[in-house]
Amino acid sequence: MDFLKIQPIHLDVLREIGNIGAGHAATALSTMLNKAVDMKVPSVNVISFEEISEMVGGAENVVASVFLRIVGDAPGCMFFMLPVEQAEQLLEDLLVGQTVNLTSGDDSDISLSALQEVGNILSGSYLTSFSDFTGLNLQPSVPATSIDMAGAILSFGLLEISTVSDYAIVIDTAFTDIERQDEVKGHFFLLPDPLSFSKIFHALGVPLDE
């Protein structure tokens, strides 16, 4: 994957994938919570490994995350990530009448499996629309959850990329609660594996100049 060959049109294509995918995920989230959820225009960035953690408040910042591998024609990683308090709020909205504490360290907690299920539904709808849009065969792995430092979690998704580059192309979509526009509730990160980019661009009719 040679970043020099990436033209503005390719970034537009990736942004559109984020737009459609996250749009579906936002709708799913909105349906689950029965309230309006807004999403920002996705950003597509070629960033260093250090910078990716900065997008969610720094490497040490504790976040609730759902991670899954995309397998099929264009493999990659997907993260749904949000600040712990906001994840707890989200789960309390879902599990009416329950108090949610994600940092109690109890893995058997129902709230963790609820978080996993939320991540499953959201990333599933993101991925389905990505798949429909590109015509590529893409399947999600079983998701895994972790409440931990953002850097520790994200670096896991950078391993494949790190063998070919010190930079990653990250398609980031931020979500907000429509009543509190300024507050970012969560992030969807899509990190295609390096070899997947040419397949995605090819599928959408804007191949890279080889």
Binding site: A144, M149, A152, I153, F156, L158, L159, S162
Partner: protein, 162 residues
């Protein structure tokens, strides 16, 4: 005034008192500290992958791989006045952040990083005096070259000093 020297991901840096050296958010990555207690100089590497043969790039980022990072850290320390025979090591990291039922090799990267780091240290005859590795938690680590203590912070298990 003491400063905190930062080590980024796939990065290497040196420190001497009164400064301390720090890296944040180690997951499957391993933080390796080599230090010379007499000369009071230390260095830290934040390693992502076990072996530079995994690299598919024309230029190699030496800090990224266990084999190249440890050699490069060793050379940097010798050049800065450390005594090669007096070097000791402490390591932390190598967690398995996510548990998947189908384990591909990349999913086991934490333990593989730790194994490789240990091999490299023994090849250079550097004694490993303390380690905090494995598990499924992220770590932030700080090393003080003055007292050679490594402080490890985790989200769920608090702070420990080795």
């Amino acid at each position: 005034m003491s400063e905190i020297i930062k080590v980024g991901i796939a990065d290497i840096n040196l420190v001497s008192p009164p400064n301390i050296i720090r890296t944040t958010g180690l997951g499957s990555c391993v933080g390796v500290i080599l230090y010379d207690q007499v000369e009071k100089i230390a260095g830290m590497a934040h390693i992502m992958l076990p072996d530079s043969s995994l690299s598919k790039t024309p230029t190699l980022n030496e800090g990224k791989y266990a084999d190249t990072a440890i050699k490069s850290l060793y050379d940097m320390l010798i050049k800065s006045g450390a005594n090669g025979k007096g070097l000791k090591a402490k390591i932390a990291g190598g967690a398995q952040m996510f548990k998947f039922t189908s384990g591909s090799e990349m999913m086991r990267i934490g333990p593989r990083n730790v194994e490789r780091v240990k091999e490299e240290l023994s090849a250079l005859k550097i004694p490993l005096l303390a380690s905090d590795v494995g598990g499924s938690s992220g770590r932030t680590i700080e090393f003080n070259p003055e007292n050679t203590l490594l402080t490890i912070k985790t989200v769920n298990a608090g702070t420990k000093v080795i």
